[in-house]
Symmetry: C2
Subunit: 246 residues, 2 copies
Amino acid sequence: MTLEQMRKFDVDNRLSKRPVSVSMADETVKADSGMAAKRENGRKNDPQRTQEDILDVATEEFTTHGLAGGRVDAIAEKTRTSKRMIYYYFGSKEGLYLAVLERAYRKIRTLEEDLQLSNLPPEQALRVLISTTFEHDEANPEFVRLVSIENIHHAAHMLRSEAIRDLNVSVIETIAAILDRGVAAGVFARKADPIDIHMLISAFCFFRVSNRYTFGTIFRRDLSERATMERHKGMIADAVISYLKT
Amino acid sequence: MTLEQMRKFDVDNRLSKRPVSVSMADETVKADSGMAAKRENGRKNDPQRTQEDILDVATEEFTTHGLAGGRVDAIAEKTRTSKRMIYYYFGSKEGLYLAVLERAYRKIRTLEEDLQLSNLPPEQALRVLISTTFEHDEANPEFVRLVSIENIHHAAHMLRSEAIRDLNVSVIETIAAILDRGVAAGVFARKADPIDIHMLISAFCFFRVSNRYTFGTIFRRDLSERATMERHKGMIADAVISYLKT
DNA sequence: TAAAATGTACGAACTAGTGCGTATGTCAAG
DNA sequence: CTTGACATACGCACTAGTTCGTACATTTTA
């Protein structure tokens, strides 16, 4: 089987998951402009929705095939709009990829910020943070894959986007505060570097998702099983806590 | 800057690291066949060396650009031989990629097998194993990258290679033995799953290398610094040990 | 001389990107 | 309220360039 044949097989598989026909009735649901939209074969300009649609499809394409492997034509085909529109809104394949990447980062930032941990006792606060990280990576495999892809490209696109670079610093501050409180209260014996701790947590949660396929293949283990997930979640939490207490 | 321009820039950069002219004197060094090779513009058939050369170049190409991003023509150009030979020996781009992958796995298997840990006390044995894993990933970033790439492709190529699937099982047996001895001797309080422990160790060591660029970019930290490496090596060992002791 | 190894040049298919014309919404003037 | 002007949104069909793979000729080895 050639690479191209594999790809076609893949595409067919994906298509079979979603009905191909998009009901026109969906269009009438949206209530952007108050007036009833005239329906009969008329086009309704809706730039925001068009862009979102493109980004959705592009995210799946890039996370499944990588940046170089992702095809603009394939994206265009699965979009409600045309290839011309991709270039109209995003300028280039790379521009589209960058938009996908930025949107993925923007999405997780919002989730991570509203987490009130300062009034919890340090050990419990850390456990909540670890659970959140674990479940986030588990719930957003496409984000994990985009980061993997970025690393293959030496984070070249991330470097050019200030938006992304400035993120994630809040996590470190959160961890630093918890560690300080823990040491002050005498529950943590070790004064650890917050970035190191973040890495210890992140590495495990990330790896479970990013290396799911190779790990699963070699050790014949399904990492998405409920029981396995819960055991792993407990393990990384216990490991971090016991490390800090030693 | 377009994707293609970026790539060309990249290639130029890489080329500048190695002198382009390959001295013919190098050829006389090798002592494969005992007889003195006739030198004057004469060709010496050396299929093994030709294949190794192709694999070396292909490994760099694929680890730098991914499978879809890697260019057969680019590989051919940097090889002492021609594109024709790539297809002569490996049949297709995919065949070449698979050969690269299998060679990378074969290389690490040999390193992991001769590690005598059974006569060391359990805790020390585990520390040696963790050090070895850590240093292996650190020393073989191209292996780490190939595994990352395989995961993006859902481990599709690995699945088709029995050679690879059968590997890595020995590590689990080694860990299982250490854990058993530790529990028996009373130094480990917890009866942990050896595959889970392998994952805990592997995740951290792997992540440090695979996510070097994004992590380094976001937290402005150079993970290849000597001091950082040593601290991290100690951290993962302490974390695993303290986890088992709790 | 036969078989293995190698080089050159080429082609078919694919792929990112675009030229150009059309549709839609808005806003101001009549 | 209607009309027309203009910017934004959109689609078809095409191009220029790339990329994997191969046909064919040639050289080396045995």
